[in-house]
C-alpha cells in the first residue's frame, strides 16, 4: 500500500502542469481583477475623503465669512452709533455755544442800551436842569463853567439814585 515509485515524479509533473496552466490562463486575470477592484475602491475612498475635506474647508470658509460679515455689521452699527453720538454731541455743544453767545450778545446789548439810556437821561437831565435853573435864576447859564457845574451836580444826583 505504501509503495513509492515513479508515480511520485509523474505527480510532481502533473502539479507543475496544473499550476502553469492555471497561473497563465486564470490567476493572472483574476488577480488583476481583484487588484483593479481594490484600486478602484481605494480610489473611491480617496475621492470621497477628498470631497469631505473640500466640503469641510468650504464650511470653514463660509463660517469664517459669516463671522466676518457679522463682525463687519457690528462694526458698522458701532460706527454709526459713534457718528450719531458725535453728531448729537456736536449739535448740543454748538447749541450751547450759540445760546451762550446769544446770551452774551443780549447782555452786552442790554448793557449798551442801558448805558445809552443813562447817557440820554443824563443829557436831558442836564438840559432840563439847566433850563429850569435858568428860568429860576432868570439868567442864561450857558457858559461852559455853568454847564460843567450842572453836569457835576446832575452826576452826583444820578449816582445817588443809581
Amino acid at each position: 500500500m505504501v509503495n513509492i515509485n515513479a508515480t511520485l515524479i509523474a505527480q510532481i509533473l502533473n502539479f507543475i502542469v496544473l499550476l502553469a496552466v492555471l497561473a497563465k490562463f486564470c490567476y493572472k486575470p483574476l488577480l488583476k481583477v481583484l487588484d483593479d477592484r481594490r484600486n478602484h475602491i481605494i480610489k473611491d475612498l480617496d475621492s470621497a475623503e477628498q470631497t469631505r475635506l473640500e466640503a469641510e474647508s468650504l464650511k470653514a470658509q463660509y463660517a469664517k465669512q459669516l463671522a466676518d460679515a457679522r463682525e463687519e455689521a457690528t462694526a458698522i452699527v458701532d460706527k454709526a452709533n459713534k457718528v450719531g453720538q458725535k453728531l448729537h454731541d456736536d449739535l448740543v455743544a454748538q447749541a450751547q455755544a450759540e445760546k451762550e453767545q446769544m446770551l452774551k450778545n443780549a447782555t452786552e446789548h442790554i448793557e449798551q442800551e442801558k448805558q445809552q439810556a443813562l447817557l440820554d437821561v443824563r443829557t436831558q437831565v442836564v438840559t432840563l436842569a439847566t433850563q429850569i435853573a435858568g428860568k429860576i435864576v432868570d439868567q442864561k447859564l450857558n457858559g461852559p463853567e455853568d454847564q460843567a457845574l450842572i453836569a457835576k451836580t446832575a452826576d452826583t444826583v444820578l449816582d445817588a439814585n443809581k
Binding site: 515509485n5 505527480q11 492555471l22 481583477v33
Partner: protein, 232 residues
C-alpha cells in the same frame, strides 16, 4: 510476485503499470488528471467572465481566494501573498477536489482520491519543501542556510531533522486520512449497503476539506519564516 499481483490483493487498487521498467500507478494518474481537469474547470468558470462587480461562481471563488489570501498575508506578508497566491490556491483546490473524488459514487468509472496514494501526497509535500529553499535562497542568498543554526548552533541537528521530516509528516497525514476514509467506506459498503456509508461519506467530505486546509496551512506556515526573516 510482481507489483501488479501484489496490488490485486489489496482493498485499494492503484493499477501499477510498468512502462519500460518504470512503474506508474495508472489509477492514481487517471484520478490525478481528472482532478486537474475539474480544478481547471472550476477556476475557468470562476474567471471566464471577470467583472469588477462579481457574481455567481466568481463571487464564491473570489471569497475563497480572499480568505486564503488573508491567511497568506497574515503569515507571509503582502510580498508572500503576491508571490504565492497561485501556488497556494492551486494546492488547496487540487487537494480538496482530489480528496472529494474518492467519495463519488462508482458508476462505471472507479473513482478514488489521487491523494490516497503516498506518491501523490509526497509529490505535493516535497515540492513545498523544495519551494521553501528555492524562495529562501532567492530572497536571502546563501545566508538563508544560517537558519539551521538558529537560535543556537546546538539546534543544527533539530533544524535539519525538522526540514527533512516536514514533507514526510505532511504527506503521511494527508495520505493516511484519505486512504483510511476510502478503506472504511469500502468496508462499510460491504457491511451495510445503506445509510451508514452515506453518513461516513458526509463526514469524509468534511475531512477532505479539513485535510486540504491543514496541508495548505502547513505549507503557508513552512513558507512564512522565509518572508518573516526578510522583513526582520
Amino acid at each position: 510476485m510482481g507489483a501488479a499481483d501484489q496490488a490485486s490483493n489489496e482493498i485499494i487498487h492503484y493499477l501499477p503499470t510498468v512502462f519500460q521498467g518504470v512503474t506508474i500507478n495508472m489509477q492514481t494518474m487517471y484520478m490525478s488528471w481528472a482532478t486537474m481537469i475539474i480544478v481547471i474547470l472550476i477556476v475557468a468558470a470562476a474567471t471566464s467572465k471577470r467583472d469588477l462587480v462579481p457574481s455567481g461562481v466568481q463571487n464564491i471563488v473570489e471569497m475563497f481566494i480572499e480568505w486564503l489570501g488573508g491567511l497568506m498575508e497574515s503569515n507571509m506578508g503582502v510580498e508572500g501573498r503576491r508571490l504565492l497566491t497561485p501556488f497556494i490556491i492551486t494546492l488547496f483546490l487540487y487537494i480538496f477536489v482530489g480528496n472529494e473524488m474518492g467519495m463519488l459514487p462508482n458508476f462505471g468509472i472507479h473513482f478514488t482520491s489521487p491523494t490516497n496514494d503516498i506518491n501523490v501526497a509526497l509529490g505535493l509535500s516535497i515540492p513545498v519543501a523544495l519551494l521553501v529553499y528555492v524562495i529562501g535562497i532567492a530572497k536571502q542568498g546563501p545566508a538563508y542556510f544560517k537558519h539551521f543554526i538558529k537560535p543556537f548552533a546546538v539546534f543544527l541537528p533539530l533544524n535539519i531533522l525538522e526540514d527533512l521530516v516536514r514533507p514526510v509528516t505532511m504527506a503521511a497525514r494527508l495520505f493516511g486520512n484519505i486512504l483510511a476514509g476510502e478503506i472504511l467506506l469500502i468496508v462499510l459498503n460491504k457491511l451495510t449497503p445503506w445509510i451508514i456509508p452515506d453518513l461516513w461519506i458526509g463526514f469524509s467530505l468534511i475531512i477532505g476539506f479539513l485535510q486540504a486546509f491543514i496541508f495548505t496551512m502547513l505549507t503557508i506556515v513552512a513558507l512564512s519564516p522565509v518572508f518573516k526573516a526578510l522583513h526582520n
